[in-house]
């Protein structure tokens, strides 16, 4: 009569939760349409609108804007995690997860691993659009994969931060508006779209304090030199630190909820 069970293991639980979130994503294509449409739209708009004014031509502007749009897209894809976690929490399904004898970090980790698929799709959409507009990095395809990886790791680390925000916020709507604001400020107050030298002094200070600037700089350096620079290693290190800090905080907030 008894059903054979074994006490839940963290990796298996996380894999099951990731599978659940993937299924949900597949059943709801609108969950990833935003991260595909947004980079395509922004790349075309910004490229053709500002290319001439900022760099003297669309082709010359592409090495600046492709990493810029890539990071902006990572930010907005990562911020989606927060809203989705909040929505899940409100739906009552999480009560059941909590009442199961499973690892407490699994529902969050599962969500975020499934979200890395969103990050991947967003990255492919950004880079492909750039390619179609004539972006041809001289360092070759291998290094393009490397910067894609760097961007995804950074986006994934940031999604823990947004997950914490989602767990602490009152409603999915609140998460969305805060996320949108954060995304806009962080991506525009950086070197994503314009050279830092063209900014006024106070803006330059803000842009220098903005972590997004460092990630974009790292990506541009890799694409320019064809090697891992200090900046790139620094970014990877900070990503790890972000996960190390915000993953436990998110689990704490999840338990408290």
């Amino acid at each position: 009569m008894d059903v054979q069970t074994h006490s839940g293991n963290l990796f298996m639980n996380t894999a099951t939760m990731a599978y659940r979130n993937l299924l949900k994503t597949v059943h709801n294509p609108d969950r990833f349409m935003d991260v595909i449409i947004q980079p395509v739209m922004f790349m075309l708009m910004f490229g053709y609108l500002f290319g001439g004014a900022i760099a003297g031509g669309v082709q010359a502007y592409l090495p600046t804007i492709v990493p810029g749009i890539l990071m902006q897209t990572m930010l907005s894809a990562a911020s989606g995690s927060g809203a989705q976690i909040r929505e899940d929490l409100d739906s009552g399904v999480f009560d059941r997860f909590k009442s199961l004898p499973m690892a407490h970090v699994a529902p969050l980790a599962g969500q975020l691993f499934a979200d890395s698929l969103r990050l991947l799709m967003a990255t492919v959409a950004s880079l492909t659009t750039g390619y179609l507009m004539g972006w041809r990095p001289a360092v070759g395809f291998g290094w393009v994969v490397a910067i894609a990886g760097l961007a995804i790791v950074t986006g994934w680390a940031l999604s823990w931060l947004f997950a914490l925000l989602g767990l602490l916020a009152k409603s999915a709507g609140a998460v969305q508006s805060v996320s949108l604001m954060t995304m806009l400020v962080l991506s525009f107050m950086s070197n994503a779209f314009v050279p830092l030298k063209s900014l006024t002094k106070p803006l330059q200070v803000i842009a220098h304090l903005n972590p997004v600037t460092y990630v974009i700089t790292a990506i541009r350096q890799i694409l320019a030199t064809g090697s891992w620079t200090h900046e790139a290693l620094l970014v990877l290190g900070v990503d790890l630190i972000i996960v190390a800090i915000f993953a436990p905080l998110a689990v704490w907030a999840y338990d408290r909820n």
Partner: protein, 311 residues
């Protein structure tokens, strides 16, 4: 030593800000019984249930499930029960089969076992025909059935049901009752909250009535009804001149006072056997009566008597 109590609750207390949501509640649930938590909206039923199922931390007090403390041995305690919440806790976007598979895997079943259990449960809850449809197309009753099926994956010996039939139509509700009775036959212990008195009456072996966070009364439905209402004998004396004589005759047979409203008399009986001598005595005195009725006490009387109702 066999454990007789499935749940032991002692001095459970929860405050939300200044408001005492659950105030020093203690009770035991015996193995194999249906235990009902009855109370008006906002009385603290769900809060109590959430603390029993480890979803909410108590400010004070202790809960033991099959002898295991829910705080110190949370994970073990969680593996011993199934929970069906007030709102269907299933994923809307995916199919019934996928829901069952995922929850089976999260419960620690191996992939083949999960598959087999899913098939069994789909059959048991007559969901086979819609097993692969998205839940968006499910009716409320189907959703509840799936919800219950999910909480039965591990065949837990203890099942918590939070308002299992709220919002269901009468037919689906009867189906749900049958399912619950079937579970009890198989030896499960069930704790359910409800605001429907007939549901508590139909299903529960023992009831705890909660009002304003306090446990106001406990007992079997029959005991509670006996204490509060009792059976009443009502009849009308046909001729107004005979009413006085009738009151005297009846009063001689019972302990309680006879209530008189015009020609209508009403008296509380401690047992049904008291009815016959009363009727015989009236007959012998040639007092004719009509509209004779024996009124069984209902839980409604109990409920209205015990709860203050300002929630």
């Amino acid at each position: 030593m066999t454990i007789k109590n499935a749940i032991e609750v002692s001095h459970l207390t929860k405050k939300f800000g200044q408001k005492l949501a659950v105030d020093d509640v203690s009770f035991n649930v015996r193995q194999g019984e249906v235990f009902g938590l009855l109370g008006p909206n906002g009385a603290g039923k769900t809060t109590t249930l959430r603390m029993l199922t480890t979803l909410l931390k108590a400010d004070a007090g202790q809960v033991k499930i099959f002898g295991h403390d829910t705080v110190k041995e949370g994970r073990l305690a969680r593996s011993l029960f199934g929970l069906t919440g007030q709102y269907a806790a299933v994923d809307e976007d995916i199919s019934a089969r996928q829901n069952l598979m995922i929850f089976a895997r999260l419960n620690g079943l191996s992939r083949p076992d999960a598959k087999q259990r899913t098939t069994e449960l789909l059959h048991e809850f007559s969901l086979e025909n819609s097993a692969d449809k998205a839940l968006k197309d499910f009716s409320g009753g189907m959703r509840r059935r799936l919800d219950l099926a999910v909480s039965l994956i591990t065949r837990p010996a203890l099942i918590f049901l939070d308002e299992p039939t709220t919002g269901l139509d009468p037919r689906t509700r009867t189906q749900m009752w049958d399912t619950i009775r079937h579970l009890v036959q198989q030896g499960s212990t069930i704790v359910l909250t409800t605001q429907y008195l007939d549901e508590a009456d139909q299903l529960a072996d023992n009831l705890a009535i909660i009002d304003h966070g306090k446990l106001v009364k406990m007992g079997t439905p029959a005991e509670l009804k006996q204490q509060i209402g009792g059976t009443r004998l009502n009849f009308t004396v046909d001729q107004s001149t005979q009413v006085g004589a009738a009151v005297k005759l009846v009063a001689a047979q019972v302990a309680d006072a006879v209530q008189q409203t015009g020609q209508q008399l009403s008296v509380r009986l401690t047992q049904m056997a008291q009815a016959a001598p009363i009727l015989t005595a009236l007959n012998q005195a040639k007092i004719t009566i009509s509209q004779l009725a024996v009124q069984e006490p209902s839980l409604d009387d109990v409920f209205l008597n015990l709860t203050v109702g300002k929630n």
